[in-house]
Symmetry: C4
Subunit: 221 residues, 4 copies
């Protein structure tokens, strides 16, 4: 995990290694994220999790504020599962800063996550888990998009979730290598474009490359 820095600014040499107790492996003067126990707590409880994201996505927060239940409403939101866990720190800790900074708070959050892959945090945001970084990114982005659509659909009328079978079938399809890889390539390109380092990749399709196509591709760099 990076030292404490706005995520958009993180560079390769900001990355530090931590123990499962969220202590840095090597001694450092860098300021660390106060909420690193969110990550450590989940890694401790879930050997199947290899990537964690904590965020305050504006589309998800209304569900952490209003009490309306977040549920999968379109095919790409199926990874939400049938019930989205909701963690309220007051259950274990009474009134707090709402920040998850103590190991026991991270452990409490991990208990609320249970075997799921996303947990909402009252008045705060969400934490998402994944078996891989690619899958984590897919889950994080599409659950947030599902939330945005649920809010919009709610203004038009009653919103019901996908049914149990659809959630299972669509959720499985979403996480197949094809969809996840296509999305992963896309988001990496968007990052490169944002950083001004984008060069279009050319993958072999098996068809002979026409020379005109080659010149056009070169112009696109």
């Amino acid at each position: 995990m990076s030292r404490s820095r706005a995520p958009e600014l993180v560079q390769a040499d900001d990355i530090l290694e931590f123990t499962l107790d969220s202590q840095p492996l090597k001694q450092t003067d860098a300021r660390l994220y106060g909420e690193r126990v969110i990550h450590g707590g989940i890694y401790q409880a879930r050997p199947d999790v290899n990537a964690v994201c904590h965020h305050h996505a504006p589309s998800i927060l209304p569900f952490c504020i209003s009490g309306m239940e977040l549920k999968p409403v379109f095919h790409l939101g199926a990874t939400l599962g049938e019930t989205v866990p909701f963690w309220d720190a007051r259950d274990d800790f009474g009134d707090t800063t709402l920040i998850v900074a103590k190991p026991e708070e991270g452990a409490s959050l991990a208990r609320a996550l249970g075997p799921s892959w996303i947990v909402l945090m009252r008045r705060h945001g969400a934490t998402v888990a994944g078996a891989t970084l690619e899958e984590l990114t897919f889950r994080t982005i599409y659950t947030a998009r599902n939330a945005a659509l649920q809010i919009q659909a709610h203004t038009l009328g009653h919103v019901s979730p996908l049914n149990e079978a659809e959630i299972r079938l669509a959720g499985e399809y979403n996480l197949r290598p094809g969809p996840v890889a296509r999305a992963w390539e896309y988001w990496n390109v968007r990052l490169d474009k944002a950083e001004g380092t984008f060069r279009p990749k050319k993958e072999k399709t098996g068809a002979p490359k026409k020379s005109a196509a080659k010149r056009r591709a070169r112009r696109h760099r």
Copy 2:
């Protein structure tokens, strides 16, 4: 159609040719879109269609989720027609992944589209057809804008559609060569700007080019 790739990343040498059965013409190792049968199914059923777009536009999805009927509410949405077809895969297939991957699913969707130019897909998105690529793009973008306006208008009060005559008259006007060409030029320029390849075009207006105007146009490149 392209090999399976996020649309924003598609290059000229990603484009492959397919049969009406959505099989690639030339043997290829490239990963293909799972939902290419949406396109093949419509081309099979509709000889008048020469371009198809399948999307998950955020303004359209609330109508695929909430059961609120999408209808033309402003002049540029008239191409929606009086009734927008709605396809529910459960009618023919029960619970599915919500993905249209099997030929029979593409055929079912094409039946729902019927003679129309857009069909909503429950919990998924929409598919749009056009006689030309230019017309397809016009229909796709303005139906999505109509949807966004209908959602906003709905928060202010009851929303009624354009009447039958207006839908017909405005729809015809929208698809005249002038409006479609003006929009087509605009969206091409926006793509070029996004890709950093934009050079302002100078069309002959019949008026002598003033030298000051020429210098100003050159500065804008």
Copy 3:
């Protein structure tokens, strides 16, 4: 007015001169805007108007669709006046294409505008008038922003307009040279930034320019 082209693409040599009957002064092969009679009709009826804007702003259209009355709700929307005229083409013409292409339609719209500076057009958009181009731009942008705020405020509760005296006093203040000039400089800079031609201007403030400030300003170009 420009020949028929998406506004964002208009260049200096697209601009043509028209009579008050919306006929081009010089013979031209260029395609012309079908709705130029909106402009000509208002110039004919209003000798005090020297700039006209016709648009389909997404924040204004919900008021052209839902029947909710657009009203000034914040200080910068005071130029809307107490009552915003609403033009319904069906009153004079029955069912139409919703496009204002005939001289009599432009005249009808101008009658609806009356002595006001903005008129809403049912299911279509709005037309705004101004004594100068700077004032027109101010009115156009801030009436659209007022509309957006009215929609948001409406979701929170009942929305009442500014009272009569506030509309008059705030409206007068808005259109003083200072506010209009400051906004005009700002929007011109935003256009320059969008076109990649922005160079920060340095106006004399009367204070001696410090050399450090000079070097910093140079770095900002």
Copy 4:
């Protein structure tokens, strides 16, 4: 404070010094902000305030229009405090231009602010105060984000505020040096990116810099 100019355009040599009576220290021909008495009035009343921001943020204005009470709804909005002061110029001045241009109007607004750090201005916007510029920026941005979330949450159901203890605890945590510094760095980078002057900073973390990381960081500039 700058001379009268759209904030986005302000350069170093636009900055002028003013007395607490909002008069320029040095004689100048520059046009000055009509509302500089907002700032002067608060500095007069509040020796603990060293930075002031007046704005018309679109997420805050609906609360200045609708009468809905703005309240802290998520952890980063805790700095709103339990009750957000609301200033109505009509109480002291009857109908006005809604602009705060007279010294007595600035004084009235400062009285409404009282010991708080934000005051809403009916039909106008908000004014925010801070002990430092960094703190002011944090308060300004996160109170506006809280407002946006409250509007969204309101569409989903009843919205209650954080409780008294949470407001106090979370508010204190928000304004610790760590969170404020991290946010300050982030917003400065966003400004640099917007102005095209961004160069990634490399801070010593105490770990030896790997040569591969060094080359990668150099490529990111």
